[in-house]
Every structure is written in structure tokens, then in C-alpha cells.
Symmetry: C2
Subunit: 317 residues, 2 copies
């Protein structure tokens, strides 16, 4: 973060024609953007939404309300423009990129051992690392992957502790017995991968999936390039949590776009000290919640950069 730009943004914000900080979170977001974009007049002219898709061996444990082939079917839907994220990306004027990662090669069932080899995990991280487009001034990362709330809950249990049940939710809509199967699979996965509880990156490799690793990769790349990030829901936040636990400050450039209806998301945000911009009861994934939040962040940038000062407007401050 560019502290001088951030300080200049705060000073500019105080002179704008409004009671001090009366735009609330919009003022905070504008100043945060300024720090990462390195200017007191930030802009959201070229937002990017990237959706990563992967398949999960753990689906054979009956952890999802949908069959695994839906991951590929939905990727085709993204490519044809028929999914929610296509409409949201258009409505906020964002470039959308879709990355299907080895869908014909699901991760291994983590109840039996590591979901990915080191080479597989690094390759997936690299897909994300290389997906950041030139000129992007605000990044949203999202996912599609039948079974991935179970993988994300397993990562959360490894990173933050507690019982698997604390981190399990209904995902796309499983019933109570589905929730129990998710918790049992996670308990077995933690037992089968003891290293996952000791090292955040091992939690990602052993319990995660390719789309989760790719989100971690693009979020890390954005940190290096000083591109501000809006996190999507439960699974995206789990990817960010791996980075935050691995390297202090690794997600300082990220805001939580929304609080998902997936019950454990709120707890994960609290652990990461992230305050969601939106709370709309969304639980779709696909970057949909963070995609909607782009509009809020753009409004924040527009006010910060376009408003007149009291002196310029001749208003009694």
C-alpha cells in the first residue's frame, strides 16, 4: 500500500462537499483503493472478474446436492453467457475470464490422502497467477466446483481449528444427512492429512482443489501488482485465508465483497477481520457476490475522485 497516496486521499476526502466521513464505508473503500492504486483519485474503469473451475474427488462421498458433471456443464454455461456471473459482469462493466482447470481429472478424494500432488497444486496456483489481465484496476476472483464447500470447510478446520461441523453448511442445498456426510469426510480428511493442520499451504494442497489454489494464485499476484481485490464468498475466502495464514499481510489488499448465506462464512470473515460490503443472503459462488460489490466500490471511487471540494463549490464547510 502506498501510504503517501493513502494520506493524500484522506486529506482530499476531508475537503469534499459532504459532512466528514458521511459516506461511511464508501469513504473507507475510496481511501483503501487510493492506497493500492497509488493515487488520491482512484478509479474502477477496468474491473476484472475471473472464475476458476475444478472437480473434487470427495464428491464420491455424497457431499453435494448436484452431480460432479455439473461443474463442466456450468463452465459451458459461463462460456455461452447464460450464468448469473455473465449478467452481473455485464451489469457492472467487468471483463470476465473463465478458467476450467483439468475438469476431467478431479482431485483425489482427500479422505484417502492429499487431494493434489505438489506439482498439481503448483500448476493450479500458476493458472491463477497468470490470469491477471493487464490494466485491471479492481479484481474479483470466484469459483465453480461441485463439492468445493466441503473442501473449503476442510481448509477452514485445518487453518482455524474447531470441529468440522462448525465449518460445514448447506452448500448448494444438502439436507441434514448431507451435512453429516460433509463433516465426516472432513474429519477423515484431517486424519488422513495430518500435515494440513500444520502448514497453510499444505492445507490448500491436501484438502483444497485446483480452483481454490488458482484463486489463491491470482489473489497473491494481485498483491504483488498492487491491484485491489474484492473477495467473493465462502470458498474464495478460504483461498484467501490460506494466504493470510501463510504470510502476514498477504490479503491487506483485499476487502470482503459480501457475507454469504453459507453459515460458516461469517465466522471465517470474523477470524480474518474482514467486514463484508454486502449481506444479501447470496450463496451461489461464481464470484457473484463480489461481482455485485464492484458497483459499490466503483461508486466509492467516483465520489472520491469526482466530487468538488467545499472551496471549489463555494459551500460553507
Amino acid at each position: 500500500c502506498d501510504q503517501a497516496a493513502r494520506d493524500a486521499a484522506e486529506a482530499r476526502n476531508d475537503r469534499l462537499t459532504k459532512p466528514p466521513r458521511s459516506l461511511g464505508r464508501l469513504d473507507d473503500l475510496a481511501i483503501w483503493l487510493s492506497g493500492w492504486q497509488g493515487t488520491p483519485k482512484p478509479a474502477v474503469d477496468n474491473p476484472q472478474i475471473s472464475v476458476f473451475a475444478g472437480n473434487h474427488g470427495v464428491t464420491q462421498r455424497g457431499v453435494s446436492a448436484y452431480p460432479a458433471e455439473v461443474t463442466e456443464q456450468m463452465v459451458l454455461n459461463f462460456q455461452a453467457g447464460g450464468a448469473a456471473i455473465n449478467q452481473i459482469a455485464r451489469s457492472v462493466g467487468a471483463r470476465l475470464t473463465v478458467h476450467a482447470i483439468d475438469l476431467d481429472r478431479p482431485t483425489a478424494d482427500f479422505t484417502q490422502g492429499p487431494a493434489m500432488t505438489e506439482a498439481e497444486c503448483v500448476a493450479a496456483l500458476a493458472v491463477g497467477w497468470n490470469a491477471l489481465l493487464a490494466g485491471t484496476d479492481l479484481l474479483v476472483a470466484g469459483e465453480m466446483g461441485i463439492g468445493n464447500t466441503t473442501a473449503a470447510a476442510a481448509i477452514a478446520t485445518a487453518l482455524f481449528g474447531g470441529e468440522p461441523r462448525d465449518w460445514v453448511g448447506r452448500g448448494t442445498g444438502v439436507d441434514e444427512s448431507g451435512m453429516s456426510r460433509k463433516a465426516e469426510a472432513i474429519a477423515e480428511g484431517l486424519a488422513a492429512n495430518p500435515v494440513a493442520s500444520e502448514d497453510p499451504l499444505e492445507a490448500l494442497r491436501c484438502l483444497g482443489g485446483r480452483e481454490i489454489a488458482a484463486m489463491a494464485g491470482i489473489i497473491a499476484r494481485a498483491r504483488v501488482e498492487r491491484v485491489p481485490v474484492i473477495l467473493d464468498g465462502f470458498i474464495c475466502t478460504a483461498a484467501a485465508a490460506v494466504l493470510a495464514k501463510a504470510v502476514p499481510g498477504a490479503i491487506d489488499h483485499a476487502q470482503a465483497g459480501h457475507q454469504s448465506a453459507e453459515a460458516a462464512h461469517r465466522n471465517m470473515l470474523l477470524r480474518l477481520e474482514l467486514d463484508p460490503i454486502l449481506t444479501l443472503g447470496m450463496r451461489l459462488g461464481e464470484a457473484s457476490g463480489a461481482g455485485v460489490a464492484i458497483g459499490v466500490v466503483r461508486a466509492a471511487a467516483a465520489c472520491q475522485s469526482g466530487m468538488a471540494s467545499f472551496a471549489e463549490a463555494g459551500v460553507t464547510g
Copy 2:
């Protein structure tokens, strides 16, 4: 509301390529829009934001952190494009109209008797009634008026009961003694205008202001024209509350755009059974909170109208 269109929208929504109702509030907003726009494929192509400005005699009681001349100065700022709402309107692609209503003729100090004569109140209502533009598919009404949180709190006390102190907040930023002056002025205003507690429209006339009446006028007109409305903060919601108390169902076409940082706004929303779309700690007025919410409602319409069904996309539902 067109119940057939609403039913068709619900049926369509259930077929779209997402777990049922997984867009949460966006699904609700899309179905609400459908009912008022009379189509299962709603659109937000021509949103309108109208800001009404008025001056208040009660400002002589020291109820605001800013002098009364700031109302007119801010109108000039709106006209020059320098205010927050100008930037927000541009960022969401809304047409912005600004209506300064008799700024050189403040309302009478309501601690001494009615703020407006019947003719004055009707004239202000008519300004709003006539401000709805042809083709508007989503309306936001907002305001500017130094002193108007006191007027709105007085209306709330008359409509909902309780003590003036329950409805008083910091407005643009008064201190504790300013809050006490606001509560005292309201108590005096209620005593000087006993009819205000008996008739919602008399509460508007006796305790309100021209911009508040104009907001009531345009919200009522939108109801007749079946144009859906997003309410802004505390003062706009007070205008809507007058309508809701006067005629059951009068604000069925309205959603709460946001929950203001003005403390009593939450209570007013609860009384009206309105659930705010956004909670961003905003307290500026000018239609700013509801203006930001336009982006959320547009995303809801885009998903409802643009998404493929499971059958169209070949996704296993």
C-alpha cells in the same frame, strides 16, 4: 402489482441455472421488480434519481451543524456536477433531476405553528408528483435541506409515537447539546400542532418541509404508474412513512435502499417492515444510499432476465 407477472417471474426464477433462490435478496428484488414492471423479465435501463431541496424555519433553533444557506449552495453544487449524488448517478447510469423548491421562502418554524399552509404543502407535493420522467423503470427520491433530520424526526414522533429523543440523531453532525435542541424543538412542535399526531398528512404539513412533501408526491405518483421505488435514508423514509400511514399499501412498490447511520432510521424501517438492501454507514442524504442500491437492483434484474434455464443450458438441475 401485477400478480400474474410476479407468478411468472417466480416460475422463471426457479428454472434458472442456479440452486433455487441462491441469489438471496437479488432473487427477491427481481420478483418484486417483475410484479411492478408487469413482466417476468424486468429491466433497469432507465433509472431516475430526483433530489428535492427545501429550507426549514426550525433551523433558527440551532438544530444543524451547518447554516441554512448551505441548502442553496449544495443545489448549485448539484447543478454543477460536484456533489456525491452526481458521481453516484453517473456511476449507475441514472438520470438525475434536481428540484429546488422555494429556497428563499423557508417553511415556518414548526415550534410556533404549522410549517406549511395547505396550499404550500399541496404545491410541494405537486412538484414531486410532476417530477416523474417518462420511461423511468426504477425511481430513487432524495433530498437536501439543512434542518431536515429534525423535521423528519418530528414526523416520525407524530406517526409512530415515543419520545422525540427516540427519533433524534446526529444529522450532519451535531453534538449532544444539538441533539437536545432537536428533541426540545420537536416536543414544542408537537405541542404547537396537535393535529399532526392525528393525521399523517397533517404531520407532513405541520412538521415536514417542501422537499419531504415533494418526495411523498413522487413516491405516490410512482405507485400510480407502477414504477418501483428505492427509498433513500431517514428523511426519505419519513416521507414514505406518511404515505404508508395515510393509505395502507401505499408503499408496496418501494424497497429500502439502505440503512442510514442516523440511528433512528433502523427503527423507522422496522416499523415499516422494510429490510434495507445496503448497510454501509452512510448518512449524507441526497439520494446517495439508494443511488448506490440501484446497482444491486440492476444486477438482480440482469440475472432474472438474462440467465439461461437448466433446460436451455443443458445443466443437470
